[in-house]
């Protein structure tokens, strides 16, 4: 046995354990605690097993919210990713235009969620909002507080406006890291613009795109503030996404048990999707990424 053991190392790891315990594990365990018990007050509580889980998983309003959420998140990804790539491709590569477009693109990212919500809430109003007024002028009957479709589209447009910049910046960084020689080589070969994109730019952007998709998926899957500020989840339930639903359950109706059970399910959905996506992409890209 010539393996050296040094117990002092534990002291270096302990702070991390401590911080993670306080910040993540203990709060998570309280949620777990609520999800399997019916708690009235600290002394009065009953173990209910999987009852809350069964209740929330069988809740048709939750199914609706989940479907709405999935459609919304997919829409976000299908719009923001191609749009972000397209915008990144058209950005200037040198000169004053670079810093100008960087500043312009970064601006929406710096605005807090609820401010974005407020901006669009006012912007979209048919009476005093520029956007809403103009749309109605053009003969389209647009009113996000009454028409569910309008509200849904408004939240989507808001997100696209707010977050496409992130994809643009990520892709732009990826594009900038491609040496000029690649483009020259393609030019000498006589490759078309599409071939340059398909065989040089896209493969070189792959790793940043994975991060972009993950970030946008997680973030849009947890969207709360914008629909809350715009219509509070309405009209009807048109913009009631999972976070909204959860908040109503926990804070509005004070159904802590089912809310805790649902929180865990929610958490697991996000974790699972991210893991599956990451694994699939990385396995597909493994041979390229090494």
């Amino acid at each position: 046995m010539n393996k050296i053991t040094n117990n002092k190392a534990w002291f270096l790891v302990l702070p991390v354990f401590f911080i993670v315990a306080i910040s993540a594990i203990i709060p998570l365990m309280t949620v777990v605690n609520y999800s399997v018990q019916d708690i009235f007050d600290p002394q009065t509580r009953f173990f209910v097993g999987t009852e809350w889980f069964e209740q929330v998983l069988g809740d048709s309003r939750l199914h609706d919210a989940l479907i709405r959420q999935i459609i919304y998140t997919l829409s976000v990804l299908f719009i923001e990713i191609p749009l972000g790539i397209a915008v990144a491709l058209t950005l200037p590569r040198k000169g004053w235009g670079v810093s100008a477009s960087m500043v312009l693109l970064a601006l929406p990212l710096l605005i807090p969620w609820n401010v974005v919500g407020t901006i669009w809430q006012i912007f979209g109003r048919a009476d005093i909002g520029l956007g809403g007024y103009v749309i109605n002028m053009m003969g389209i009957d647009y009113n996000y507080s009454q028409n569910p479709m309008d509200a849904w589209v408004t939240v989507l447009v808001m997100d696209v406006w707010h977050w496409t910049s992130l994809i643009v910046l990520l892709c732009y960084a990826g594009l900038r890291s491609i040496p000029d020689a690649y483009y020259q080589a393609a030019k000498i070969d006589g490759a078309s613009r599409w071939a340059v994109f398909r065989f040089i730019q896209l493969p070189k952007m792959q790793s940043v795109l994975v991060i972009g998709v993950l970030l946008r998926f997680m973030d849009s899957f947890m969207i709360y503030t914008e629909p809350f500020v715009l219509t509070g989840g309405g009209p009807g339930n048109a913009t009631t996404f999972l976070s909204q639903f959860l908040t109503r359950m926990a804070v509005g109706q004070f159904d802590l048990g089912p809310a805790a059970a649902f929180s865990l399910v929610y958490f697991l959905i996000i974790l699972l999707v991210c893991w599956v996506f990451y694994t699939v992409v990385m396995n597909a890209g493994k041979r390229e990424e090494q």
Partner: protein, 366 residues
């Protein structure tokens, strides 16, 4: 084809990158562009390829003006310092890509890809992706891509710089043979004098955007037309000292005296710059006529089989190349010997006026 450059200049933002370059590259010739970093080698190659238009001047292919012609129509290929391959395509598809774009039929593509891969010794790697290859294999793939399309002009821009020593030597040996039986004009840019000598062919020495000398490589090496050429085409750079010819002898600024004899006999009175390559200095007297000099050791670099001793005397710094490993103490006074038959003489304008006769006896180009 014959490629002729006529008074090519390139100015970018008021700064001259290429300054009045004229040269003619013969069909099937191997041409080395030798120059330091930023001498304009890459720019000149880009102009030859048609990737960049010259600011003025003409490019002729077989006496036809192609100055404004797009690069796709010129049938050129280029290999870069970085290993440039399509990242998502395997080696086979990478090599096949220029042929596919030319619309060559499938069976022909397959035949040519396989024979080129064989030539580059990568036939066993055809289904790998570039990232799964070593640097040397990646560059072989890039070269195969360039060679597969039978181009008329093949430009190699310091292709071996990013490879490690062993791979570099391997490929350097292969390159002239690979290209020997083609009528392709090859242009090979390098910063290394040894590489230029090993590759042979013709050599164009570049300095500050000008081609200062163009001729057979060994001839350029033995007769550097200017002081600058000597500095560029010697590693370490040629040792220089100012001197004056008067009263039938050469007086170096350092106080040493060289007789006006041999190839130096015809020098008239005036000021000169004398040059001698590091391998012609010795810490041992090599012959009866050698001139003894003294200097202080500033630095000794041991490369393994050779030692470069940097000496300083009378405001002059020289480098002596010694066989074997020596370990002189720094600051120590040392004697070394100049063989006057190996001296180059440049006039006051830096132009070569006398070069030592070429010795062929030991078989080494140096």
């Amino acid at each position: 084809m014959t490629l002729t450059l006529e008074n090519i200049t390139k100015t970018v933002g008021g700064e001259s990158h290429i300054d009045d370059v004229s040269m003619t590259l013969e069909p099937g010739s191997f041409n080395v562009l030798l120059g330091r970093t930023l001498a304009g080698k890459t720019t000149l190659m880009r102009i030859m390829a048609g990737l960049e238009p010259p600011s003025s001047g003409r490019i002729l292919v077989d006496n036809v003006d192609v100055t404004g012609m797009a690069v796709q129509k010129r049938n050129v290929a280029m290999v870069y310092q970085q290993f440039i391959n399509y990242p998502s395509m395997n080696v086979y598809d990478n090599i096949a890509s220029p042929l596919k774009l030319q619309g060559v039929d499938k069976a022909d593509i397959d035949k040519r890809v396989r024979s080129t891969a064989e030539l580059m010794h990568i036939e066993h790697l055809l289904d790998r992706l570039p990232q799964e290859l070593s640097g040397g294999q990646q560059q072989r793939t890039a070269m195969a891509r360039a060679m597969v399309k039978d181009c008329k002009l093949l430009l190699l821009d310091e292709p071996l710089v990013n490879l490690d020593y062993k791979l570099r030597e391997e490929l350097r040996e292969e390159i002239p043979n690979l290209l020997a039986e083609r009528d392709t004009i090859v242009v090979y840019a390098t910063t290394e004098p040894m590489e230029a000598l090993l590759l042979g062919g013709k050599c164009a020495v570049m300095h500050q955007g000008r081609v200062t000398q163009f001729g057979p490589t060994t001839q350029v090496y033995h007769n550097p037309a200017y002081v600058e050429t000597g500095l560029i085409f010697s590693d370490p750079p040629i040792n220089l000292v100012d001197a004056e010819v008067r009263d039938g002898a050469i007086f170096m600024k350092s106080g040493h005296q060289v007789p006006l004899s041999g190839h130096l006999a015809d020098l008239s009175n005036g000021t000169y710059t004398l040059g001698i390559r590091a391998n012609h200095l010795s810490v041992d007297p090599t012959g009866a006529d050698t001139i003894a000099m003294q200097g202080q050791v500033e630095l000794a670099e041991i490369t393994g089989s050779e030692t470069f001793v940097h000496v300083h005397f009378n405001d002059v710094s020289w480098v002596i190349q010694e066989e074997g490993v020596h370990n002189p103490r720094l600051g120590e006074a040392t004697s070394f010997y100049v063989d006057p038959t190996r001296l180059f003489a440049f006039d006051a304008n830096g132009k070569l006026v006398a070069a030592p006769p070429v010795e062929i006896s030991n078989g080494k180009a140096a």
